[in-house]
């Protein structure tokens, strides 16, 4: 277990290194660099060169990357060119809103995926399964921005039931304005429920074929009791992993949903910073989102490792396993 954890941690750190390098190269080191943008169109060659030196752009890329990474790791994310505020402060003020949005959607997805994926997995190949599977394939095929736009057009512009823009006064938490949360959460829910249900259905279908469940069925367990006490524990490990993958995906989807509804979160600010070439914000917010995604995946692996009966020590599983079979 410790070895598995260390290996996963190592992979996550290596991935983060690769991603941060790609992010830095794309935003800082490509031609049309920050000096050109900062000096303006009519700067002379000398002015540009002087600015390059002052900003440290004449140093080698690797050196600049390491300096940037070191500063980022110690919490210094630089200053936004557009807002003039420290990026760390901006991130802190918006992170909570995004976490609230994504967490609410994930809870809804977990409930719905269990209620749809369990019957589909237990009756694989039957009409219920075919219905659920066709539905999830359709949801999977549609990009999240289409789903969100349909919700926006129908419920906000068409029926006028809900606000089209998530107007949340400065300093208020989105909790205090639940009507502003409905459409963004519903969009993220539709974007993630397809993949989560599919992963859960696969986990349940595999668990339902396991000898332990077969044994329980032969000894007379039926219906909900069989599903709750035998199938769900066996399917829990891959299901948690599936939910972690879905959550990480929703962090990407939140970029689109937050932008569309102008929800004051990390994603909408990142999209705005990309449009306005606010390099420090793009780098800081990008690192934060990528790091969060990797952390969620790591947590998913950790929890699913703890839930997986086979990876537990024999002393713990031996007794339980036997009791279950009886």
């Amino acid at each position: 277990m410790t070895r598995f954890l260390l290996a996963r941690l190592g992979t996550a750190l290596a991935t983060m290194a690769v991603l941060s390098a790609a992010l830095f190269l794309a935003t800082d080191a490509l031609p049309g660099d920050a000096a050109g943008a900062a000096a303006g169109a009519d700067a002379t060659a000398e002015e540009r060169a002087e600015l390059r030196e002052r900003l440290g752009l004449d140093r080698p890329v690797v050196e600049r990357y390491l300096a940037w990474l070191g500063a980022s790791l110690t919490g210094d994310l630089g200053r936004s060119a557009a807002a003039g505020r420290p990026v760390g402060e901006m991130l802190a003020s918006r992170f909570g809103s995004s976490v609230l949005l994504v967490a609410t959607a994930v809870v809804c997805i977990a409930v719905a995926a269990t209620m749809l994926g369990m019957p589909a997995g237990l009756r694989s190949g039957r009409p219920v399964d075919r219905l659920v599977s066709s539905g999830t394939v359709t949801l999977l095929a549609l990009p999240e921005f289409l789903l969100a736009t349909v919700l926006l057009a129908v419920f906000a512009h068409g029926a006028g039931l809900l606000p089209a823009v998530s107007l949340i006064p400065l300093g208020d938490s989105p909790w205090q304005h639940p009507q502003a949360l409905v459409l963004p959460v519903a969009s993220l829910f539709l974007a993630g429920v397809g993949i989560a249900t599919r992963l859960l259905r696969a986990a349940v279908a595999t668990a339902a074929e396991s000898p332990a469940v077969e044994q329980a069925r032969l000894s007379g367990e039926r219906g909900l009791r069989l599903a709750w006490s035998y199938v769900l524990p066996a399917a829990a490990a891959p299901a948690v992993q599936g939910l972690a993958v879905t959550t990480a995906g929703l962090l990407g989807g939140s970029l689109v949903v937050e932008t569309l509804f102008d929800y004051p979160g990390v994603g909408s600010e990142l999209a705005r910073a990309v449009a306005y070439r606010d390099t420090a914000v793009v780098q800081g917010f990008g690192l934060a989102l990528a790091g969060t995604a990797l952390l969620v995946l790591l947590l998913g692996d950790l929890v699913s490792g703890l839930l997986d009966v086979r990876s537990r020590s024999a002393a713990v599983t031996g007794g339980r396993g036997e009791r279950r079979l009886r």
């Binding site: 290596a14 800082d28 009756r123 394939v137 095929a141 289409l146 057009a153």
Partner: protein, 273 residues
Amino acid sequence: MTRAGPRLLLLVPLVLVTALALVGPWLPLSSPTERIAAPFQPPGAGHLLGTDFLGRDVLARTAHGGRTLLLQALAATALGSAVGLLIGTLAGLARRGPLTWLLRLVDGVAAVPGLLVVLLIAAGSPGSDLAVLIAVTLVSLPFSVRVIGAATARLTELGYVRTSLARGDGRLDVARRDILPNIAREAWAEAGLRFIAATQLCATAGFLGLGAPAPEANWGRLVRENAAGAAAQPWAALTPALLLVLLALGTTLLADRLTAPARPQPSQQRTVL
């Protein structure tokens, strides 16, 4: 869902949408950037699908908005699959060394949301369709490498592959002669899945305003631009959205056919409860 007839019928819209996307800019329509009437006019003479938020012809803009998107997705899929095949087979053949570490790293990168990666890579070169193409390729690459690497690793223990390697044949030769013919089906199916993801990512990139800047038409951007007027003039946002839906569902069904087993196994039908 197992009958071939209705499924093939569903592919007809896909062919039509693809044709429209590719031929659209050559059709004799009015200019996609010229204002011809007041904003958000309902369909009428001179503008069959009405006008958009700036009073431009929706039909002309829709006809122009698909080609870049489709070509971007196709090029990203082709590039990603080709490089993925090369790296994947070589990494799958390697028993130890840096290439096996690469497979592990690829697993990590593949788990990061693709949209985030596309946004961050394309952010450096705003207004560039090429940057979007490269970003989408980089996102699809890890998946190709992973699937091809796993498929290759399953074959490396087979007698004839071991014989070839022991005989001292070059890795590339072994990959070409002994591995590729046996993983062709998986490679095509994987390319299909990558194309679906690439189409979604390219459309979403347009929606977020990445790629060629504003007056340029792009189905993703058309949905964004005209969503606000959906109550008054639904066709402006609905037409590109419908085309994207047809493209997405059509490619998904096609990929489903490629990946599905030739005949449903009897064991797939079972009831536990």
